[in-house]
Each structure stands twice: as structure tokens, then as C-alpha cells.
Symmetry: C2
Subunit: 196 residues, 2 copies
């Protein structure tokens, strides 16, 4: 294996190990020795790639943001209604979080340790619900800004409530969208089906 | 002033000072010395009432639970529809949280430091939404369990999003209930008015 490729593999396995450790015990309690044990890597190899625990955390947050940006790009490009885009994007992200420990750790770090940056999610909800309103797809009389905040609060709350067992997150989100949308948007039942 | 009354006042002022300190910097960073400065109390007086920072935290959580129990009792006794009870109770609690630093610290401690106890909120939502369903007050086809979780996630999410400025919490909750209820319950607009 070429040296550069091997180095990339090591870097990746350190990030996975750090993510697993952070996912299990949290950033504060995560120990460098435990991370090294998990990926069977030496201290020397670790410090070749990262300056410390904080540095890996930053890399995990950066990767989380990259992945989210890709997701958003992909869902925006599908020619669906704005609300279907919102439903599909949030449920798709939830399913990915269930499977991807690096993404879970990145999200936890982005929300907690590294800052309270909401990564543009709030403005994304505003944007999509605003577009739905422009197209007359919201229930008559509904205030787009309030609907956007309601949907965002629902997703944030569901994330928090299912944080201990993220395997249920996507299922719960889909259920909540199905309960929420029929009263909120025109043709809501069909929009909620975009979750699946 | 009788000695017992003076002792109660001191205990109360220590709890307020601890709550302010925890509200400002969080439990972990809260320092006993800062708490004593805030309430102008000696270490001796402090240790007469509490065995340490942890002990005050437990007292704040206990008070938070007592206050919530009173709130629930009061709102259950009013002869309103179950959904109006839910809306009124959550918005009333939010308004109280804005004004009462001991309650804010108690909530933060109950959710974070002391445990992840949800204080029966989840079952309260289940109970009230279930009753609304029995009375035929939910939108036809709505699944009561999913609606209860949706409402609970909305309230939890709104709490989290407004955590940095709880003065806005009640306003945001009222807005969200107003956006949510018309599509969720029969006569939803009138029910949402129970928030005010």
C-alpha cells in the first residue's frame, strides 16, 4: 500500500476510534489512551495526524458539516416540494446518524463542546417553509416563521429525546412528521410520505 | 426575628444564590465561594444548612419538582379540555421559568447534572393527549401516541432552542402551539388561545 494511502487509513481509523469513544463517554471523559487502544495505533502515529483530542474533535465537526452540506445539496436538487425536501432531508440525516458514529460524534461536538452553532439548520427550515408559503402550500392563515420554528423545535426535541438510542431517531421523526404535516400543509399526508 | 425564621431566610438566600450561580455558569463551574459572596453568607452558615454544592443542587431539584407538581395539580383541576390543559400548563411553566431563577436552575439540574429524569412530563403529555382522543378532540386519523410525542418534542425542542434567553420561551411556546393546534385538534385555534 502506498505510504500516503496508509497514512490516510490511519487518520481515518483514529477519527473513527475517537468518535466511538466520544459517542460512548462524551468529549470531556474521552481519553487519548482509550482512543489509541480502540484503533490499535501508537501515540507517535496519532501525533503525526493530530495535535491532540481537541484537534480530532475539530476534524469530526468539519466532517459532520461537509456531510450535511452534501445532504442538503442533494435534497435541494431533487425537484420536490419544499416541505417534502425538509421532511426527506431531516429523516435521511437521522437514518445516517443511526449508522455513522463519526457523524453522531460530529453532531454532539458541534452542538455541545465546540460551540452552540446550529449549522444553518434554523435558516434552512426558514428557507424551505418560506418557499412552501410562497407556493401556497401552507394551511391558510399559518405564519411561515412560526411554522418554521415549530418544525425546527420538533426536530431538535426529537433528537434530544432519542439521543440515548439514536437507532429509533428516524422512526420517531417520520412518525412526528406524519402527525404534524396533515394539519400544516396542503396535501400533507403525501408530503409526509417523502420521509420514507 | 425568631431564630427559626432567620435560619429559613438564610437557607432560602443560599438557594437563590446557588441558583443564580448555576444559571450563570452551570453546575460544574459553580463555585462555593461565589455562592457565598452572592448571598453574603459565611461558610459556617452555609454548612449549617447544606453539606455542600451537591446538597444545594438536590434541594433545588426537589423544589423544582414540588413547584411543578403544584402547577400540574392546579391545571388539572381547572375544568378545561385536555389539550387546553396541556397548552396552559406548558406556557404557564415557561412564564414561571422566565421569572424564577431557582426553578430554572432546578430544571437544568434535573435534566443535566442530577440525572436525565424527565419528571413525568412525557407521561403527562400521553395522558392529556389520550384523553383528548377519547373525547374525539383530535383530528380524525391522528395517532394519539404520535401526537403526544410530537407535542412533547416541540416543547422540549423549544426549551432547548431558547435556553440561552429564557425570557422568550413563553412567547415562542405560545407561537408554536398556535401554529400546531389548528391542524391537530378540533377547534384548535380556541384551544391555542388557552396559552395566553
Amino acid at each position: 500500500m502506498p505510504q500516503q494511502q496508509r497514512a490516510q487509513l490511519t487518520r481515518h481509523s483514529i477519527m473513527v476510534a475517537a468518535a466511538e469513544e466520544i459517542d460512548d463517554v462524551g468529549f470531556e471523559a474521552a481519553k487519548l489512551s482509550a482512543i489509541l487502544r480502540r484503533c490499535e495505533t501508537t501515540k507517535g502515529a496519532f501525533y503525526f495526524h493530530f495535535s491532540g483530542k481537541e484537534d480530532v474533535a475539530q476534524a469530526l465537526v468539519a466532517r459532520y458539516r461537509e456531510v450535511l452540506d452534501e445532504f442538503r445539496e442533494r435534497w435541494y436538487q431533487r425537484a420536490q416540494s419544499p416541505m417534502a425536501t425538509l421532511v426527506g432531508l431531516t429523516c435521511d440525516t437521522a437514518r445516517r446518524l443511526e449508522q455513522d458514529v463519526m457523524l453522531r460524534a460530529g453532531l454532539a461536538l458541534a452542538c455541545g463542546h465546540v460551540g452552540t452553532d446550529t449549522d444553518g439548520w434554523e435558516s434552512l427550515f426558514d428557507d424551505l417553509v418560506g418557499r412552501a408559503a410562497e407556493r401556497g402550500q401552507l394551511r391558510p392563515g399559518a405564519d411561515p416563521a412560526a411554522v418554521a420554528r415549530l418544525c425546527y423545535a420538533m426536530v431538535v426535541g426529537t433528537n434530544l429525546l432519542e439521543a440515548s438510542d439514536l437507532r429509533r431517531l428516524a422512526t420517531r421523526l417520520e412518525e412526528s412528521w406524519r402527525a404534524l404535516l396533515p394539519g400544516l400543509v396542503v396535501d400533507g399526508a403525501r408530503t409526509a410520505a417523502a420521509a420514507g
